[in-house]
Amino acid sequence: MRPNLKLARIGRECVACGCCASVCPRQAIRIAGGVIARVDPALCVGCGKCAAVCPAAVITIEAREVQA
């Protein structure tokens, strides 16, 4: 199995609309306290579906930090 090297990152300007959470195939995103979307790094596979639908365009797919 290939290692999961990417991760969704939510920007601070998130409007907490929940579009990302509704399309996430791994249920890796939740809207914390109606304030901001949060990604569970253990579940996120970096597929980018959330970034494609985010109406505020605040989600980026970034490389995971590899621990030495």
């Binding site: 907490a16 579009c19 959470a21 809207i31 914390a32 109606g34 304030v35 901001i36």
Partner: protein, 202 residues
């Protein structure tokens, strides 16, 4: 494929609201649900569950956007704090003006049977008779329907130009409920010292 729930069909209610209002303006009063439910959910539930799951307008824009949207990222200013709170302030001023007009009719001024789009353009429509209701109740209905049609039009235009749910970025109700949640959780953090998470999120 994701399993559908009853709340995935709330867009039908939004569509029905817009159509029913054209046939009897008093149906516009139902629009109060779209204002009060998100506020109550934010105030007592401490979440944006309404936006996240139950917003019929968001669902409708999503459905239409699948076919019609250019799917382009919106300009940066749209998500900026000053624009979102500025738009909320503008909307509240317009809402206040609408309440004042309702009061004027209550106080004896004649009913102004008009729905305006973008606060300026009068919708060319032959509005059915509303003499069965108090004039002030009818005036309020005209005002609410003007707000609902205007915001739907703005949502539709930004859906076409940017991403399907671009309206959610500057929706005054969304901005207000997010602000309430921010205040609420900041207070809870002070009391309990835990993160911004409410039972409604789980």
């Amino acid at each position: 494929m994701k399993q559908k729930h009853w709340y995935d069909y709330l867009w039908i209610g939004e569509l029905a609201y817009l159509v029913l209002g054209l046939f009897n303006i008093l149906f516009a009063w139902l629009g109060m649900l779209f204002f009060t439910i998100p506020l109550l959910v934010a105030l007592f539930g401490g979440s944006k569950a309404y936006c996240n799951r139950y917003c019929g307008r968001g669902q409708l824009l999503n459905l239409l956007g699948k076919k019609l949207s250019r799917n382009q990222p919106p300009p940066r200013f749209l998500r900026s704090r000053w624009f979102r709170y500025g738009f909320l302030t503008f909307f509240m001023v317009m809402f206040g003006r609408m309440l004042y007009q309702t009061y004027q009719v209550f106080a004896g001024m004649p009913l102004r049977q008009a729905v305006t789009l973008l606060w300026v353009f009068r919708l060319p429509w032959q509005w059915p008779d509303v003499s069965m209701a108090s004039p002030w109740a009818a005036q309020y209905a005209y005002g609410v329907f003007s707000i609902m049609l205007t915001s739907t039009l703005l949502g539709f235009v930004t859906m076409l130009l940017f991403r399907p749910r671009s309206w959610c970025v500057y929706c005054p109700m969304g901005t207000m409920t997010q602000g309430i949640c921010q205040l609420k959780h900041r207070k809870e953090d002070l009391v309990h010292g835990d993160g911004a998470e409410s039972p409604a999120d789980r």
